[in-house]
C-alpha cells in the first residue's frame, strides 16, 4: 500500500468531467460511487508523503498524509457522500459538477504539502463553490455570489502575497508548522488569507451573506468544506497563536448574537457556522494537545450535524419554497421526519449528552479552562445562545407555533436517507466517542461522560430551555434585515461601480467635449475657410476632394457616439508630448 497512493482529490475532479456525459440511473450510481471510493481510499490510506513533483524548480507535494490530514479527509469524504446522496434528485448537472470540484479541491488542500499546491486548490475551491450559489438562479443569488467570489479572491491574494513573501524569507514553499515566535508580515498575510475562509470577524460577512442564497444542496456542501478546510490549515500552521484563541472566543459569541435575532432559517445556521468555527479557531489558538484535539473533533462533529441542519431546513425550503421563520410554522404534521432530523442536529450543536456535539465541544471548553477562564466563559455563553436559537427557536417556529397554512409533503427518499445517515452519525459519535477519538492527531486521555461534566451541561441546557419559554414572545422572529459588516463591501462595490460608470466614463466624454469645443471647432472653421477660398478661387477638383475628405471624416465621426479620430490622435499627441516633456525637464 505504501507505494501506491491515489489522491482522492483527483477522483472527484476527474469524476466531475464524466457527470455531464452520463444519464439516468448510471449517473446516479456514479455520483454515489465516487465519494464512496474516495472514502475507502482515505480509510485505507497509510501515513507518509506521496505525489512529490518537481515543477518549475519548485517541489510540489500533493500527498502529505498524517493524522491531522487523515481525520479531515475522513469526514470530508463522508460528508461528500451524504451531500451527494441528499442532492441526488437534482437534475442540474452543473450543481453536481461544481460540488465535485469543490469537494475535490478541498481534499486537494487537505493533502497539500506545499503552499503552491495549496494555493491552487484554494482558488479552485472559491471558484467552484460560487457556482453553488449562482445555481440558485435568482438575482439575489447572483449578486451574493459575486460578492462572495470577490471577497474570496481578495483573501486568496492576501494568501498569495504571504506565500511569496515567505518564500523570500525562508527560501521554500513547504507548508508546515509556523512558530509563534518571530512573526513577520508574511505570517500575518497568510493568516489573514486563512482566517477569511474561516470567517473570522470582521472578515466573516461573506458567509451569512452567501450561504442562505445558495441552492438547497449547495448550502449543504458549502457549510462543510470552506470553513473547515480553513480550520485544517490553521491547525496545521498556526497552532498556539494566542490571537487565534481570542478571535475564536469572540467569533463564538459574535455569531450567536446575530443568530438569535435572525429570521431566515438558513441565515441563522450560517451565523452558527461562524460561532461553531469560533470554538475550533479558539482551540487551535490555545494550541495544547487537548485543545487541538478538541478543535479537530469539533470540526468532525460539526461538519456532520451542521450538514444535517442545513439538510433539514433545506428540505423545508425545497418543499415549501420558504425559509423565513415568520412565514413558516405548524409543519410538524406534514414533515415529522424532517423535524426529527433537524432537532437531532439542533441538540448536537447544543452539546446534549449522547450526541456528537457533547463529546467534542466539551473537550474544547475544558481545554480552554486551563488556558484562560475568561475564554471559557465566552465559550459557555455561546453555548447558551446556540441552544436557544438552533435547538429551540428554529424547530419551534418552523414546526410548531402558529399554523402557517401550508401543507407540504415529506422530502424525497434520497434526502431522507441522507439525513438519516447524518443523524445516525451524530448519535453514534455521542454514544461511542472512541471511534472519533482514535482518529485525532494526538492521543486522547479524556473521558467526556463524567458526573460533574454531565451535570454542568444539563444545568446550562435546562435553564436555557426555561428561559426560552419565558422569553418566547421576545424571541418571535421579525422579518427584518440585520446588517452586518457586509454593509461595507456592499457599499464599497457600489461605490466602485459608480466610479467606473460615472467619473471615468464621463472623463472620456468630457475631455472629448472640451476638445470638440476648441480644437475641433478651430479645425472645422479653418477647413471651412480653406474650402471657401479654394471654392471661390481656384481648382475645383482638389477642393472637392479635400472638402469631401473632411465631410466624410465628419460623417464617420458622427456615426460614432464615443469619440472622434481627432480626439484619439489628440490624446496620442498629448501623451507623446507629456512623455517627452517629462524627460526633457527631468
Amino acid at each position: 500500500m505504501t507505494n501506491m497512493w491515489i489522491n482522492p482529490a483527483f477522483l472527484f475532479i476527474l469524476g466531475s468531467f464524466l457527470i455531464p456525459i452520463l444519464k439516468g440511473r448510471v449517473k446516479q450510481t456514479f455520483l454515489l460511487l465516487v465519494p464512496a471510493a474516495a472514502f475507502l481510499d482515505v480509510v485505507l490510506m497509510s501515513q507518509g508523503t506521496y505525489g512529490a513533483v518537481q515543477f518549475l524548480g519548485m517541489d510540489l507535494i500533493f500527498g502529505k498524509v498524517d493524522r491531522l490530514s487523515l481525520v479531515f479527509a475522513h469526514v470530508f469524504t463522508l460528508m461528500a457522500f451524504i451531500g451527494v446522496l441528499y442532492g441526488l434528485h437534482v437534475k442540474d448537472d452543473g450543481q453536481h459538477v461544481a460540488a465535485y470540484l469543490y469537494v475535490g479541491s478541498s481534499l486537494g488542500v487537505t493533502f497539500a504539502g506545499d503552499y503552491v499546491t495549496l494555493f491552487i486548490f484554494w482558488e479552485i475551491m472559491a471558484f467552484a463553490s460560487v457556482f453553488l450559489v449562482w445555481y440558485r438562479r435568482t438575482q439575489k443569488a447572483v449578486d451574493a455570489g459575486f460578492r462572495y467570489l470577490l471577497v474570496h479572491i481578495v483573501g486568496g491574494l492576501f494568501l498569495l502575497a504571504g506565500i511569496l513573501l515567505r518564500h523570500g524569507e525562508v527560501g521554500n514553499f513547504a507548508f508546515g508548522v509556523i512558530s509563534p515566535e518571530g512573526i513577520t508580515l508574511a505570517t500575518y498575510l497568510i493568516m489573514i488569507g486563512f482566517c477569511l475562509n474561516a470567517a473570522v470577524p470582521p472578515i466573516h460577512a461573506w458567509l451569512p451573506d452567501a450561504y442562505p442564497e445558495a441552492t438547497v444542496t449547495g448550502a449543504v456542501f458549502m457549510c462543510a468544506f470552506t470553513t473547515k478546510t480553513a480550520v485544517y490549515v490553521l491547525a496545521r500552521a498556526f497552532a498556539g497563536f494566542e490571537i487565534l484563541a481570542i478571535l475564536g472566543a469572540i467569533m463564538a459569541v459574535y455569531g450567536v448574537c446575530y443568530a438569535v435575532i435572525e429570521n431566515d432559517a438558513r441565515r441563522i445556521l450560517a451565523y452558527h457556522i461562524v460561532s461553531q468555527v469560533g470554538y475550533m479557531v479558539c482551540g487551535i489558538g490555545i494550541g495544547s494537545q487537548m485543545a487541538v484535539n478538541g478543535a479537530t473533533a469539533h470540526a468532525y462533529a460539526h461538519i456532520i450535524y451542521k450538514g444535517l441542519l442545513f439538510m433539514g431546513t433545506g428540505a423545508v425550503l425545497e418543499m415549501t419554497g420558504r425559509s423565513k421563520l415568520s412565514e413558516l410554522g405548524g409543519l410538524y404534521k406534514y414533515m415529522p421526519l424532517a423535524l426529527f432530523f433537524t432537532v437531532t442536529g439542533g441538540i448536537s450543536i447544543s452539546g446534549f449528552p449522547l450526541t456528537s456535539g457533547f463529546i467534542s465541544k466539551s473537550m474544547t471548553v475544558e481545554a480552554s479552562e486551563n488556558y484562560s477562564i475568561f475564554i471559557m466563559l465566552m465559550l459557555l455563553t455561546a453555548s447558551i445562545g446556540t441552544f436557544l436559537s438552533v435547538g429551540l427557536k428554529l424547530p419551534y417556529f418552523i414546526w410548531f407555533n402558529k399554523d402557517s397554512g401550508i401543507k407540504p409533503k415529506e422530502a424525497p427518499l434520497n434526502m431522507k436517507l441522507a439525513m438519516g445517515i447524518a443523524a445516525f452519525i451524530c448519535y453514534f459519535l455521542g454514544v461511542y466517542p472512541k471511534f472519533l477519538f482514535d482518529m485525532l492527531p494526538y492521543p486522547v486521555h479524556w473521558e467526556p461522560y463524567t458526573a460533574s461534566h454531565f451535570a454542568e451541561v444539563m444545568q446550562l441546557l435546562l435553564f436555557t430551555g426555561l428561559g426560552f419559554l419565558v422569553l418566547l414572545k421576545k424571541l418571535t422572529p421579525e422579518p427584518t434585515i440585520n446588517l452586518d459588516v457586509d454593509w461595507f463591501y456592499r457599499r464599497g462595490a457600489k461605490a466602485f461601480m459608480w466610479v467606473a460608470n460615472k467619473p471615468i466614463a464621463i472623463y472620456e466624454e468630457y475631455l472629448g467635449e472640451i476638445y470638440n469645443k476648441w480644437f475641433t471647432n478651430f479645425t472645422l472653421r479653418f477647413s471651412n475657410f480653406l474650402w471657401r477660398i479654394f471654392d471661390v478661387k481656384i481648382i475645383d477638383g482638389i477642393v472637392n476632394d479635400i472638402a469631401g475628405f473632411w465631410k466624410d471624416l465628419g460623417g464617420v465621426a458622427r456615426l460614432s457616439q464615443t469619440g472622434l479620430v481627432r480626439n484619439y490622435a489628440f490624446f496620442m499627441l498629448l501623451g507623446g508630448i507629456v512623455l517627452i516633456t517629462y524627460y526633457l525637464f527631468k
Binding site: 455531464p20 515543477f55 518549475l56 452543473g94 491552487i120 482558488e123 479552485i124 471558484f127 457556482f131 449562482w134 445555481y135 438562479r137 443569488a141 447572483v142 455570489g145 459575486f146 467570489l149 470577490l150 479572491i153 481578495v154 491574494l157 498569495l160 502575497a161 511569496l164 523570500g168 461601480m497 466610479v499 467606473a500 460608470n501 471615468i504 466614463a505 472620456e508 466624410d552 471624416l553 464617420v556 456615426l559 460614432s560 464615443t562 469619440g563 479620430v565 480626439n567 484619439y568 490622435a569 490624446f571 496620442m572 499627441l573 498629448l574 501623451g575 507623446g576 512623455l579 517627452i580 517629462y582 524627460y583 526633457l584
Partner: protein, 495 residues
C-alpha cells in the same frame, strides 16, 4: 568603391517565403477561378481558407525544422534565434486559428474572396519580419506590411458602416503612430549613426548616453509601439476598431499583431537600448499601471462583448508590460508565455462570439448570451473555459501566465506593480464571469421571443477544429505548463 556582398541565408527565412507564396497563390486562385454567380462576390468555396491553412501549417513545420542557436544574416538585418522562433509560432498559431474561424464567417458575410486570406497571410509575413528584424528598418518594414494589410482587413465588410469607420480610424491613427515611430527611428539614427540594433547598443555603451536626441528618439519609439500594443494613453482606437472590424479580424488583431508589436518592442529595447534601461523602465512602469487599470475599469461597464474584449485586451497588454518591466530573463519569458496563452484564449473566445453573433453579427451584447447554457451547453462550456482563462482562474493557461508574470515582478523587486496587477486581475473577474453568469444562471427570455432572438448555432467543421485546438491549448498550458515555460525561458533575448 567596395561592394559588400551580404550573406544571403535563405534557409533562415523559409517560413516567411512559404507564407508569402501561399498568399500569392490564394490571391491568384480566386482571380482565376470561374465565378458562377453574377459578380462572383463571396461565392468562393471553402478551399481558399483551407489552402491558406495548409500554407500556415507548412510554415509552422518549417519553423520546427530550423536549427537552434542564434544566427545573423542579410548583412545584420535579420536574426534567427529562439526568440524569433517562439514568436513565429505564436503568429502562425494566431493566423491558423483565425483562418479556421473565418471559413464560415466570410461565406455568411459575402466576403469570401482570395484577398481576405491573402491579406491575412501578408499581415502574418509582416509580423514574422517584425519578430526577426535585427535592424530598425527591417522592423519598420515588417510593421508597415502588417499594418497596411490590417487597415484593409478592418474594413473588409464593405457594406457595414461600422466596419468602414473602423478601417478609416485605424488607418488615420495608425499612420499617425507610424509617424511617431519613424521620427523616433530617425532620431536614433541621428544620435548613433546606425539603425542596426547591435550597432546602436554598441554606440550607446561606448559613448555618453545622456544625449537628449537619443532620449527623445526612445520616447517616440515608445509612443509608436505603445499604439500598436494598445497601451494607455495610445489605446483609444482599440475599442472602436475592434468593435467595427469583422469578428475574425478582431480576434486576429488582438493576438498576432499585438504579439508582433511586443516582439519588436522588446527586441528594440532589450537589444538596442539596454543601457538606457534605467531611463525607460519608469516610463513602462507608468504605462503598465495605466494600461491595466484603465482597460479593466472601462471594460466593467461595457455591454457590447466585442467592445468589452477590446478593453480587456488593453488590460492584458498591461499585464504583459508588467513582464516587460520586470526584465530579468524570467520576465522576457513571461511576455512569450503570456502572448501564447492569450492567443489561445482570446481567439477561442472570439470563435464563440462569431458563432453566437450569427449572420451580420447581430448578437454581440452580453444580454444575447442569456440562457445560452440551456440551448447550447457545449458552446457555453467552451466559452466559460476561455473566459475563466482570461480571468486567470486555475487551472487554465491564463492563470499560469499571470502567476508567471507576477512572480517575476516580485522577484525583480517590483512588488507595488505586482500588487496593482493582481488587484486589476480581481476587478477583471467581474466582467468576464458576468457573461458566464448570464449564460448559466439566467433563464432564456420567454420561449417565443427567445426562439426568435437566438436561432440554433451553427458550428462549421473548421470552427470546431479551431475551438478544439484553442481549448486544448488553454488547458494544456494551464495544467502541464512546464514544457511551454521551459520553451519560453530558452527563448530569452541575448542581453
Amino acid at each position: 568603391m567596395e561592394i559588400i556582398i551580404p550573406t544571403i541565408n535563405l534557409a533562415s527565412i523559409y517560413p516567411e517565403i512559404v507564407v508569402t507564396i501561399f498568399a500569392v497563390i490564394v490571391l491568384l486562385l480566386h482571380a482565376f477561378t470561374p465565378h458562377h454567380s453574377p459578380g462572383g462576390a463571396g461565392k468562393g468555396g471553402d478551399h481558399l481558407g483551407y489552402i491558406s491553412f495548409i500554407g500556415i501549417a507548412y510554415a509552422t513545420f518549417l519553423v520546427f525544422t530550423q536549427e537552434g542557436g542564434t544566427e545573423y544574416s542579410f548583412n545584420g538585418l535579420w536574426i534567427l534565434d529562439n526568440y524569433s522562433r517562439f514568436f513565429r509560432l505564436i503568429f502562425l498559431l494566431g493566423t491558423g486559428l483565425t483562418i479556421l474561424i473565418s471559413v464560415k464567417y466570410v461565406k455568411d458575410e459575402g466576403i469570401n474572396h482570395g484577398e481576405y486570406y491573402s491579406l491575412i497571410l501578408f499581415a502574418t509575413v509582416g509580423m514574422m519580419i517584425m519578430g526577426g528584424g535585427a535592424d530598425l528598418i527591417t522592423i519598420f518594414l515588417g510593421l508597415e506590411l502588417m499594418s497596411i494589410s490590417l487597415y484593409v482587413l478592418a474594413g473588409y465588410t464593405r457594406n457595414r458602416l461600422t466596419s468602414n469607420e473602423s478601417s478609416l480610424k485605424y488607418f488615420l491613427l495608425g499612420s499617425f503612430a507610424t509617424g511617431f515611430l519613424l521620427y523616433g527611428i530617425a532620431l536614433l539614427y541621428g544620435a548613433t549613426g546606425t539603425t542596426n540594433l547591435k550597432g546602436i547598443s554598441g554606440f550607446i555603451s561606448e559613448s555618453n548616453f545622456g544625449n537628449p536626441i537619443l532620449i527623445m528618439g526612445m520616447v517616440l519609439l515608445v509612443v509608436g509601439f505603445g499604439f500598436k500594443i494598445a497601451s494607455v494613453p495610445f489605446h483609444m482606437w482599440t475599442p472602436d476598431v475592434y468593435e467595427g472590424a469583422p469578428s475574425p479580424i478582431t480576434a486576429f488583431m488582438s493576438a498576432g499583431p499585438k504579439a508582433a508589436a511586443f516582439a519588436a518592442f522588446a527586441r528594440v529595447f532589450f537589444e538596442g537600448l539596454p543601457s538606457l534601461q534605467g531611463v525607460w523602465v519608469d516610463l513602462i512602469w507608468i504605462l503598465a499601471v495605466l494600461t491595466m487599470t484603465v482597460g479593466n475599469v472601462i471594460a466593467l461597464v461595457q455591454n457590447n462583448i466585442k467592445r468589452m474584449l477590446a478593453y480587456s485586451s488593453i488590460a492584458h497588454a498591461g499585464y504583459v508590460l508588467v513582464a516587460f518591466v520586470s526584465a530579468n530573463e524570467l520576465g522576457i519569458g513571461g511576455i512569450l508565455y503570456y502572448m501564447l496563452a492569450y492567443t489561445f484564449m482570446n481567439i477561442g473566445a472570439f470563435g464563440i462570439i462569431i458563432v453566437v453573433g450569427g449572420k451580420g453579427e447581430k448578437r454581440v451584447n452580453v444580454d444575447d448570451y442569456t440562457g445560452l447554457a440551456y440551448r447550447h451547453p457545449v458552446a457555453a462550456a467552451t466559452m466559460s473555459l476561455f473566459l475563466f482563462s482570461l480571468a486567470g482562474i486555475p487551472p487554465t493557461a491564463g492563470f499560469m501566465g499571470k502567476f508567471y508574470i507576477f512572480s517575476a515582478a516580485i522577484k525583480s523587486g517590483y512588488i507595488g506593480l505586482a500588487i496593482i496587477g493582481v488587484i486589476n486581475s480581481v476587478v477583471s473577474v467581474y466582467y468576464y464571469l458576468r457573461i458566464t453568469v448570464a449564460m448559466y444562471m439566467k433563464e432564456p427570455e420567454s420561449a417565443v421571443s427567445g426562439a426568435e432572438s437566438m436561432p440554433s448555432l451553427v458550428f462549421s467543421t473548421a470552427m470546431i477544429i479551431a475551438m478544439v485546438i484553442a481549448a486544448y491549448g488553454v488547458l494544456r498550458m494551464g495544467i502541464f505548463p512546464s514544457a511551454y515555460i521551459a520553451l519560453a525561458q530558452q527563448s530569452h533575448l541575448s542581453f
